[in-house]
C-alpha cells in the first residue's frame, strides 16, 4: 500500500481505528492513508462503516481505539484545528431552509472563521462554484434537489479547505444531476485539494477516484487505482454464463480449478479474467456474454458482498 507520494506526509491517516456501538463493531481495525492531492473513493455497501469513519474524522464520533491524524493534527485531541482546515459535505442535507443560498454560505464563512474582509469574496466564489449566482437570494427550500446539493458542497468549500470530506455526495439524486456533481468533484482534484469521498456507487468511485479503498465490515479490504484493482482481481473481461443442466456448482468448480474467480449474478455465473479462459475450459463452459470488468466484480470477488 503506498502511504504517500514523494515522501510528503499524508493528508489523512487512520491506523487500527476501532469503533463499536454496543455489540456491533462498525469499524474494525481500519487502516487508511490518504496522500495529499488525490481523490480517494471509499467504496462499500451500506453498513460497511463508511459514515462512521467520516464522523470519526470530524470527532463527532470518538474511536474506541487506534490513531487518527488529519493534516498533522491528532484527532480528537486537536480536532478543532483539523476541522478548521477541512471542508465537510454531509450525507444528509442540513441547509437552513429559511435562509437564502448566499446566507447559508455566509453563516459557514463565519463558522469557518473566514476573516471579515474576505467573507464577501468567499461567498461569491462559493456561489460561483455551485453555479448559483442567479439564485443567491433564493431560499434554500425553493431550490431544486441538484441545486441544494451543489450549495451543500459549496458550503463546505467556502474557506478553501485543503482537504474535503464528501459523504455520499450524490446519494438519492437522479443520474443526470449526479453527473453534474461529478464535474464539481473533478475540478477540486484539478486544484490540488485532497478529497476523501465515501460512496456506494461503483461508477462514481471508478470515474472520480485516483484510488479507491474497498471497505467491508469495518475494514479496508484492498486499495489502489481502479484500473489496477480491476486488472489484478477481475482481469480485462468478465464472461457471464447461463447455468447448464448441472447447475452453477459444476461450472464454478471448473472455473476455480483453472484459477479464475467467479461470482453469481442472478441466473448467471460470471467468470473473471475471461480472457484467460483456456481452450479446454472453453470446451467445458461453452460461450457466454463477454463484458468489460468493473470494480463491482472486484468487490464481490473479495468480499462476497454486493455494492449497488
Amino acid at each position: 500500500m503506498p502511504s504517500s507520494t514523494r515522501g510528503e506526509p499524508s493528508a489523512l491517516s487512520l491506523r487500527g481505528v476501532v469503533k463499536s456501538y454496543g455489540s456491533i463493531r462498525a469499524v474494525d481495525g481500519l487502516d487508511l492513508e490518504v496522500p495529499s492531492g488525490i481523490v480517494l473513493g471509499l467504496l462499500g455497501p451500506n453498513g460497511a462503516g463508511k459514515s462512521t469513519t467520516m464522523r470519526m474524522l470530524t470527532a463527532q464520533s470518538r474511536a474506541d481505539g487506534g490513531e487518527i491524524t488529519i493534516l498533522g493534527h491528532s484527532v480528537p485531541r486537536e480536532s478543532k484545528r483539523a476541522r478548521a482546515l477541512m471542508g465537510v459535505v454531509p450525507q444528509h442535507d442540513n441547509l437552513d431552509e429559511e435562509l437564502t443560498a448566499a446566507e447559508n454560505l455566509q453563516v459557514f464563512a463565519h463558522l469557518y472563521r473566514v476573516p471579515r474582509a474576505e467573507r464577501e469574496a468567499a461567498v461569491e466564489r462559493a456561489l460561483r462554484i455551485a453555479h448559483l449566482e442567479d439564485r443567491r437570494h433564493t431560499r434554500a427550500d425553493k431550490l431544486s434537489g441538484g441545486m441544494r446539493r451543489r450549495l451543500l458542497i459549496a458550503r463546505g468549500l467556502v474557506h478553501r479547505p485543503r482537504l474535503v470530506l464528501l459523504d455520499e455526495p450524490t446519494v438519492g439524486l437522479d443520474p443526470q444531476v449526479r453527473q453534474e456533481l461529478w464535474g464539481l468533484v473533478s475540478s477540486l482534484r484539478d486544484e490540488g485539494v485532497t478529497v476523501l469521498m465515501s460512496t456506494h456507487y461503483i461508477e462514481e468511485a471508478e470515474r472520480l477516484s485516483d484510488e479507491v479503498a474497498l471497505m467491508a465490515k469495518g475494514k479496508v479490504v484492498t486499495r489502489g487505482a481502479p484500473a489496477d484493482l480491476i486488472a489484478r482481481y477481475a482481469g480485462k473481461t468478465v464472461e457471464e454464463f447461463r447455468a447448464g443442466t448441472d447447475g452453477h456448482e459444476a461450472m464454478e468448480r471448473r472455473a476455480e480449478a483453472a484459477g479464475l474467480p467467479t461470482r453469481r449474478t442472478g441466473a448467471e455465473l460470471a467468470v473473471m479474467r475471461a480472457e484467460e479462459i483456456s481452450e479446454e475450459l472453453r470446451g467445458e463452459l461453452g460461450r457466454g456474454e463477454v463484458r468489460a470488468s468493473n470494480l463491482e466484480d472486484v468487490f464481490v470477488t473479495l468480499t462476497g458482498e454486493r455494492v449497488e
Partner: protein, 278 residues
C-alpha cells in the same frame, strides 16, 4: 463544471485558525460569534411573529388579570394588583421566551434539521454551540422582557430608575432557562414527551414564583419549592427594580440565579454532548 480559481486554493486556506491557533480544546469566542451570526440571519426571517407574540401576550395578560382579576383583588402583598402583575409578567415572558426556544427549537434543529451536525463538523465544539444558542436566547429574552414592562408602564406602573436593571435580570434568567430548555431537549426521548416537561415543570415554575399571586398564601412546602424556583428570584429582582429592594436580599437572589446558570450550563453541555457526539 469548472472552478475559475486555481492553484492559490491549495496554498492558502482562508481559515484564520491555521497557524496561530490557541491550544487545542480551549473555549473560543470565534465559534460563539459564528453561531450567533446564524441566529441573527434566522431572526431576520422571523422577527415579526416573535415580536408580535412578545408584545401582544403581556397586553392580554394585563387586560385579563389586571382589570378582570384586579377589580376583585385590589391590593396584593402591599402592591396594587396591576403593579404586582405588571412586574410578574416581566418574569413570565422571560421564562417563555427562553425555555420554549431552548426546548423546542433546539430539539427540532438537532433531531429534524441536523443543523448541529453540520456546525460541529466546522471548528465549533459542543460547549461553544450550547453557550451561543443559550446566549442568543438570553439576548432575546433581555430585549423582549422589557416589552411587558413598557406595557405595564403604559397601564400605570410608575417608572423607576431601578428598572434599567431589568434587561440584565432578564439576560441572566433567560440564559439559565434557555440552558435548562436545551438540557431537557437533549434529555427527552421524543418530541411527544416534551409535553411532560411543559405541563409538569414549566407550568408550576410559571405559577409558583409569585408571578400572579403572592407566595404567602401557599402552604409551607409550596413556599419551600418556590425558593428553589429560579423564576421566583427573577420576580423578586424585577419587583425590587421597580419598587426598591434591600441590598442583601438582592445579592441572595442574584446568587441564586448565578448558581442556577452554572448548574444548567454544565447539564446542558453534558447532555448535548452525549446526544451529538458518540
Amino acid at each position: 463544471m469548472s472552478l475559475q480559481e486555481t492553484a492559490e486554493r491549495a496554498e492558502r486556506p482562508l481559515s484564520a485558525a491555521g497557524a496561530s491557533a490557541p491550544p487545542p480544546g480551549r473555549f473560543e469566542l470565534a465559534p460563539v460569534r459564528g453561531v450567533l451570526a446564524r441566529e441573527w440571519a434566522l431572526y431576520r426571517r422571523s422577527w415579526k411573529p416573535t415580536t408580535f407574540a412578545a408584545v401582544v401576550e403581556p397586553i392580554i395578560f394585563l387586560l385579563a388579570f389586571g382589570f378582570g382579576l384586579g377589580s376583585l383583588v385590589g391590593v396584593v402583598a402591599g402592591y396594587s394588583y396591576l403593579d404586582f402583575i405588571g412586574t410578574g409578567i416581566v418574569a413570565t415572558s422571560v421564562l417563555f421566551t427562553s425555555i420554549y426556544p431552548g426546548l423546542i427549537d433546539t430539539y427540532v434543529r438537532r433531531v429534524f434539521q441536523h443543523s448541529y451536525d453540520g456546525m460541529l463538523a466546522a471548528p465549533v465544539d459542543v460547549r461553544e454551540l450550547v453557550t451561543a444558542e443559550a446566549g442568543w436566547i438570553a439576548l432575546r429574552a433581555s430585549v423582549y422582557g422589557c416589552a411587558p414592562l413598557l406595557v405595564a408602564i403604559g397601564f400605570g406602573l410608575p417608572p423607576a430608575p431601578g428598572m434599567f436593571a431589568v434587561p440584565l435580570i432578564a439576560l441572566v434568567t433567560g440564559f439559565g432557562f434557555g440552558l435548562m430548555g436545551i438540557w431537557m431537549s437533549a434529555l427527552v426521548p421524543s418530541i411527544k414527551t416534551i409535553d411532560y416537561i411543559i405541563s409538569g415543570l414549566i407550568t408550576p415554575i410559571f405559577l409558583v414564583a409569585g408571578t400572579f399571586f403572592p407566595l404567602d398564601e401557599l402552604p409551607g412546602w409550596a413556599q419551600g419549592i418556590a425558593q428553589v424556583n429560579p423564576l421566583y428570584h427573577c420576580v423578586e429582582l424585577v419587583r425590587g427594580a421597580a419598587f426598591g429592594i434591600d441590598a442583601g436580599a438582592a445579592a441572595l437572589h442574584w446568587a441564586a440565579l448565578f448558581a442556577f446558570v452554572v448548574v444548567v450550563w454544565g447539564l446542558a453541555v453534558f447532555q448535548m454532548r452525549r446526544r451529538l457526539v458518540d
